[in-house]
């Protein structure tokens, strides 16, 4: 028996392909949620209302301090007990998105706090509305520098997708494992999954880098 058998590679391919689609979809949609919700959380945390900003900070702290797997289990298995029934796919993407939104909100916050106070003062002096100030003055300066930081979480989330297998979502690693157990042969499928994670991560990292350069040029920040 060979250590590496190419025929298994071809046989495993359809499994991995189906799984890869699920993995990539979960990552893209989940990260979209994380980006938007993370920004929303960061903005709410800037609220001058102490109760609102403190409550949001506590929620972020709570999400960051408990395991992702526990959060997935809680919503998926405990939720129905309270009448909250969500599909596995909905729970998976939702919890991934919310979990990473908590991390992304911290990155946004760093970016926002990094914008000089003078920019706010100039906006007041020019009588710009608060919304206009955020949209046209603060965020265009806050976001380009933090793209690499957000990108790290993008790749981090991608590598966390195997957690979805715990609620019976057939993402790529689960597909590889299933192929292995069906054929009593794991090495090819698991290795291929690993190679795919590696390639995707490298491509994603290059994309993040390109977006970062493009945004910084676009807004003339170095």
């Amino acid at each position: 028996m060979n250590i590496w058998d190419w025929s298994y590679v071809w046989d495993a391919f359809p499994y991995l392909y189906r799984g890869a689609i699920v993995t990539v979809q979960a990552t893209l949609i989940g990260f979209g949620v994380a980006l938007i919700l993370g920004l929303a959380i960061a903005l709410v945390r800037q609220s001058s209302n102490r109760i609102v900003s403190t409550a949001t900070t506590e929620v972020v702290e709570f999400i960051r301090s408990t395991p992702l797997l526990l959060q997935v289990f809680f919503v998926y298995y405990v939720g129905p007990q309270f009448g909250i029934v969500i599909s596995a796919w909905g729970v998976g993407i939702g919890v991934l998105g919310i979990h990473y939104a908590a991390y992304c909100s911290e990155v946004y916050r760093a970016g926002i706090e990094n914008v000089e106070g003078g920019q706010w003062e100039a906006s007041v002096a020019l009588n710009l509305s608060r919304i206009r100030t955020w949209r046209k003055i603060i965020l265009p300066q806050a976001i380009p520098p933090i793209v690499p930081g957000l990108g790290n979480y993008f790749i981090g989330m991608f590598k966390d997708t195997p957690i979805l297998a715990a609620i019976a979502i057939l993402e790529m690693l689960q597909q590889a494992k299933n192929f292995g157990s069906n054929n009593y042969r794991y090495i090819e499928a698991i290795t291929m999954a690993g190679a795919f994670y590696l390639v995707f991560s490298l491509v994603a990292s290059a994309m993040v880098h390109a977006v970062s350069i493009w945004l910084n040029r676009r807004y003339h920040l170095q």
Binding site: G118, E121, R132, H220
Partner: protein
């Protein structure tokens, strides 16, 4: 306290009457007698530290007032309160006959809402020590952002006006440059054009030459000089440029310990200061030159 409010209420009515007169062209002379800016018993505290203690200061329409004094004397705070960048802890600030920090509600003055602040502070423009230009926008874009989004000008209108203002400050050829491509003096001139684009009645200059290399100070002061002589603007500036304050201002206020220790015409204050603190400060400043 009640008495205070009644008094303010009366002032309010009086100022409303004046407000109408301002719009009546035949009565311009009456409006001219009303101060453009009035600090009425204004107090500002940071925690236990009282930065300004019961400040009373009237600034007439088109008057050019320089504020000088040692650091920590509260002089920059005066401008920042007027621009509503700082909240005041007591008293009332009036602009053009209207309360700025407060608004009239059932005959009483109550702290201003955001909406009221936005309406009244539209009359004020400010130029900062560190320019505070928007680095991601060109010189021209810096000058049109607020006119378009706040005043509701069309883009063409705002661009024409912005270009005209940049011409006026001598930077017509730099309108498509980003702040990072400009020298300090050029940045400050863009900042002046940007503030003027909002058509303020009052311009505040907060140590606008302090962050500049010495050889760039002149070009900024020249622009301010032109503004003062060719435009109807009330100007209030905190400055360390004693020669410029002397030449340019109608009145100079010397701040010390959160109060106006002495004020007068430049000739009085620089030529024949009465207050011991003023003398000390002026001789220290002159020695340093």
């Amino acid at each position: 306290m009640i008495e205070h409010n009644v008094r303010l209420g009366k002032m309010m009515t009086r100022s409303k009457v004046l407000d109408h007169l301002i719009r009546d062209k035949d009565n311009v002379s009456i409006a001219m007698t009303q101060p453009m800016v009035r600090f009425e018993n204004v107090t500002k505290r940071y925690g236990a530290l009282t930065v300004l203690d019961g400040l009373n200061l009237d600034i007439a329409r088109n008057e050019k007032v320089s504020i000088i004094g040692p650091s920590g004397s509260g002089k920059t705070t005066v401008l920042r309160m007027l621009m509503t960048l700082e909240q005041i802890n007591g008293g009332v600030i009036w602009v053009d006959g209207e309360p700025l920090t407060h608004m009239n509600k059932h005959g009483q003055l109550v702290p201003a809402s955001e909406r009221h602040l936005r309406r009244v502070r539209a009359k004020i423009g400010m130029v900062f020590q560190h320019f505070n230009l928007f680095p991601h926008l060109t010189a021209l874009q810096n000058c049109i952002e607020a006119p378009v989004s706040v005043l509701g000008l069309s883009r063409q209108e705002a661009e024409a006006r912005g270009a005209e203002l940049l011409d006026m400050v001598g930077l017509g050829d730099k309108k498509n440059h980003y702040p990072i491509q400009l020298s300090g003096g050029q940045k400050q001139r863009v900042a002046i054009a940007r503030a003027l684009a909002m058509r303020p009645k009052v311009m505040l200059f907060d140590e606008v030459t302090s962050a500049l290399d010495p050889e760039l100070v002149g070009e900024v002061l020249n622009v301010i000089r032109t503004l003062g002589t060719e435009h109807d603007l009330t100007m209030l500036m905190v400055t360390h440029q004693m020669a410029f304050a002397k030449e340019f201002s109608d009145r100079v206020c010397f701040f010390h310990g959160g109060k106006i220790a002495e004020q007068g015409t430049p000739d009085q204050l620089f030529g024949d200061p009465q207050n011991e603190r003023t003398k000390q400060f002026l001789s220290a400043v002159l020695e340093a030159r």
